[in-house]
């Protein structure tokens, strides 16, 4: 047993972090007040880095790593508040592959088709050969495919087939939010929840992004608490602030290790995989939103300004929180699924 990344995994972390720092600096979010889709070139570069098929075996055209490495990648993506399209793409690749649509899978892996995720917005929706219901599509302004997600599984449809949805302003100004009412649209590929533990994989990846966001908020608050002076001292000297930062750190730790554990339990097909994945999603959502709030409060007046980053973490964590299953669904699973032996 070892929950720590090994040296090869550490390399993935370092390389990813370096790449994201130059390609996805947080400053980009201050250059535009609107969602900026990932450019075609950048998407292509990500494809070349092997991100979209990272956890897929080489026989199936993937990079040959596992969910553990994917979790590490998505944690880094979460840190820089990257759009959710990479998450959508890696689940879409697996859905296509499970549905024996190898050409479709290859095309996504190769970066030829970009993907957004659309989460169910009502309980009447059905996913299968056909897709019906209302869906909230995230970061879908410039993509070719949409991955519809509900408790029933995932279904892939073309963006064109959806027509024009209802674009609504999102809580997070950098998230493109579009609502689609879909009536019996044939799916390009469908994978039910249990198949290859696909939904648990989705939960782990969303949890990893939430972990990244909660860590970044913790780091930002801590840095600020060291620098900002009031009463002739850095505000971190005051226990009210020190303890806030400490609480942020403990929420991160709990969420991180729960998420890594879940990644391994799902990867290795353990009996408690569903329990672990849902627990990871719940813990990481809690860490990300609560750290997002605390980060704003530690920044005082600066925290509520558009110019500082603090609010961006909070808003983004609410978006991620709503991907791959509701709180209610995850709570039900952690209550009824078998836990670790």
């Amino acid at each position: 047993m070892n929950l720590l990344p090994d040296s090869q995994q550490q390399e993935i972390i370092d390389a990813t972090a370096g790449f994201l720092e130059s390609e996805f600096p947080l400053s980009r979010l201050h250059e535009s007040e609107e969602p900026v889709p990932i450019s075609r070139e950048l998407w292509q570069t990500m494809a070349e880095l092997g991100w979209f098929g990272l956890g897929l075996s080489e026989e199936l055209g993937g990079t040959g790593f596992t969910l553990a490495e994917e979790a590490l990648l998505f944690r880094e993506l979460g840190r820089v508040l990257a759009p959710t399209n990479v998450l959508a793409a890696s689940l879409a690749v697996r859905v296509a592959s499970l549905a024996h649509q190898s050409e479709l899978a290859e095309s996504i892996i190769g970066g030829n088709q970009r993907v957004a995720i659309a989460e169910t917005a009502d309980m009447e929706s059905t996913l299968g050969e056909n897709v019906t219901g209302r869906f909230r599509c995230i970061d879908g302004s410039d993509v070719e495919l949409v991955l519809c997600s509900s408790a029933q599984g995932f279904a892939l449809v073309t963006r064109d087939a959806l027509g024009q949805g209802d674009v609504v302003p999102c809580m997070d100004e950098h998230t493109h939010l579009e609502i689609f009412d879909i009536g019996g649209l044939p799916a390009l590929a469908f994978a039910p929840t249990e198949m290859d533990s696909i939904q648990n994989r989705g939960s782990v990846l969303a949890a990893s992004m939430l972990v990244g966001s909660s860590e970044a908020a913790r780091d930002q608050a801590t840095e600020y608490a060291k620098e900002r002076q009031q009463f002739g001292k850095p505000i971190g000297v005051f226990q009210a602030i020190k303890h806030k930062c400490a609480d942020m750190a403990s929420r991160c730790e709990a969420a991180t290790w729960q998420t890594f554990y879940a990644a391994l339990a799902v990867r290795d097909g353990h009996a408690d995989a569903t329990f672990q994945a849902s627990a990871a999603k719940l813990l990481s959502a809690k860490a990300a939103t609560e750290n997002g709030q605390a980060n704003i409060l530690v920044h005082g007046g600066y925290g509520v300004t558009a110019e500082y980053d603090a609010h961006l973490f909070l808003k983004r964590s609410h978006v991620l929180d709503l991907l791959i299953g509701t709180h209610g669904e995850h709570l039900t699973r952690v209550l009824h699924e078998p836990t670790a032996a």
């Binding site: 917005a121 302003p169 809580m171 939010l177 002076q229 005051f238 009210a240 558009a306 808003k315 609410h318």
Partner: protein, 391 residues
């Protein structure tokens, strides 16, 4: 101790209710901009003309000279009638005016108080600076006496509604050699004076609620000083005690209504199981129940402040307890709204719950952060030793 309102109070309530029924504007407030200022001022003027402005302000300055309980009845009836919020008149009515009543000269009172009540002039608060927020007494904006004027240079930040304001509560350092609290003066600054520059700051809700204000050789007549030269901290304490003690009274009363609309929301929104209304979810129902009890306690805290106000002119440090309780509850009410809304919480509408959630941080920071309120409660209410880390 009793809960009874006198028959005069009851009659007052009925009169208020009738008047509001006739006079509350039908059209909602514009969200921001000069139209918002005009809307707030017009509503204030309507109240003044109806004889309802400044319920507990002295009658010689245009107020009604009534006991604070009437002020509360007024706020309650306003909430019930969906009357507009105080908006840009917050500072003038809630702590600028009251500070003048407590510490101003006759001339200052005679000029400003009736104009505030009529909605002719808007006040703002220039206390905080970029490096003096919680540590307000560290402020650096300089005021130098030159003849009959103070010449002011420096910068303020987070000045709410500065772009709409005609006058400002301005704190300046007039004696840099005195002790930290000993060299500050409290001024009335005319925002239209040459050398005053207002630069709006955008907040995370997308609006510019507040601004930076820059002062370059601004000449303010010494007659605009409230209290004595270098005696501004005493006046500041009065302002802050109003700000923390009574200023949020209407917001507190309003919150009870917000909780009722949250309960409505829970009845009309599908709950986490996707079938029944949210209110039938045990978790949500319990949280709603607790929050409804807490907002009742907030109302009682407000009543206690009013009862205390019957005995002393100035609210005491207990006001910080109410402010802390209010800030915490405001946030939790909005968090529960997000929980009830589920995915719908991402959809943002100008007057919707999502915006209210983002706005709820303002209450926990503006008017002194919750951490600072806790320090005040610990040290000034409970008499705990002062934190030696603080200079």
């Amino acid at each position: 101790m009793d809960l009874d309102l006198s028959s005069e109070d009851e009659r007052f309530r009925e009169e208020v209710r009738d008047w509001l029924h006739e006079n509350v504007p039908k059209e909602p407030a514009p969200p921001y901009g000069p139209e918002y200022r005009e809307y707030c001022r017009q509503w204030q003027r309507t109240q003044f003309e109806g004889g309802w402005a400044g319920i507990s302000w002295p009658s010689e300055y245009g107020g009604c000279g009534l006991p604070p309980i009437r002020q509360m009845i007024w706020h309650q009836e306003n909430a019930r009638a969906n009357a507009p919020a105080v908006g840009v008149n917050f500072v003038g009515l809630n702590h600028g005016g009251p500070t003048l009543i407590a510490c101003g000269t006759e001339e200052q009172k005679a000029y400003h108080l009736p104009r505030i009540l009529r909605g002719d002039i808007v006040w703002c608060q220039g206390f905080s600076e970029p490096s003096a927020g919680s540590d307000l007494a560290a402020l650096k904006t300089r005021g130098v006496v030159d003849g009959d004027d103070l010449v002011v240079n420096g910068q303020k930040i987070w000045t709410s509604y500065a772009e709409h304001a005609d006058f400002q509560e301005l704190l300046v350092r007039t004696d840099p050699d005195a002790s930290k609290h000993g060299g500050i003066s409290w001024l009335i600054c005319d925002m239209n004076l040459p050398g005053v520059e207002v630069r709006p700051i955008k907040t995370m809700t997308g609006h510019s609620h507040f601004s930076e204000v820059f002062y370059t050789d601004v000449r303010i007549p010494l007659s605009n000083m409230v209290g004595e030269l270098n005696d501004g901290w005493r006046v500041t304490m009065a302002t802050l005690s109003f700000e923390r003690g009574t200023a949020f009274m209407s917001g507190q009363i309003e919150l009870a209504k917000v909780v009722e609309s949250l309960i409505e929301l829970a009845k009309n929104t599908t709950g986490p199981d996707g079938r029944r209304p949210a209110i039938q979810d045990d978790g949500i129902a319990r949280s709603l129940g607790m929050i409804r009890a807490e907002v009742s306690a907030l109302r009682c805290l407000t009543l206690a402040s009013i009862s205390r106000a019957l005995e002393s002119e100035m609210p005491g440090p207990e006001g910080s307890i109410t402010k802390l309780f209010y800030a915490d509850l405001s946030m939790r009410v909005r968090q529960l709204a997000l929980e009830i809304l589920g995915g719908q919480a991402l959809e943002r509408t100008p007057q919707g719950w999502t915006n209210e959630y983002l706005g709820a941080f303002n209450v926990a920071i503006g008017g002194g952060t919750s951490e600072i309120q806790r320090n005040i409660i610990g040290e000034r209410v409970l008499g705990l030793p002062r934190d030696r880390n603080r200079k």
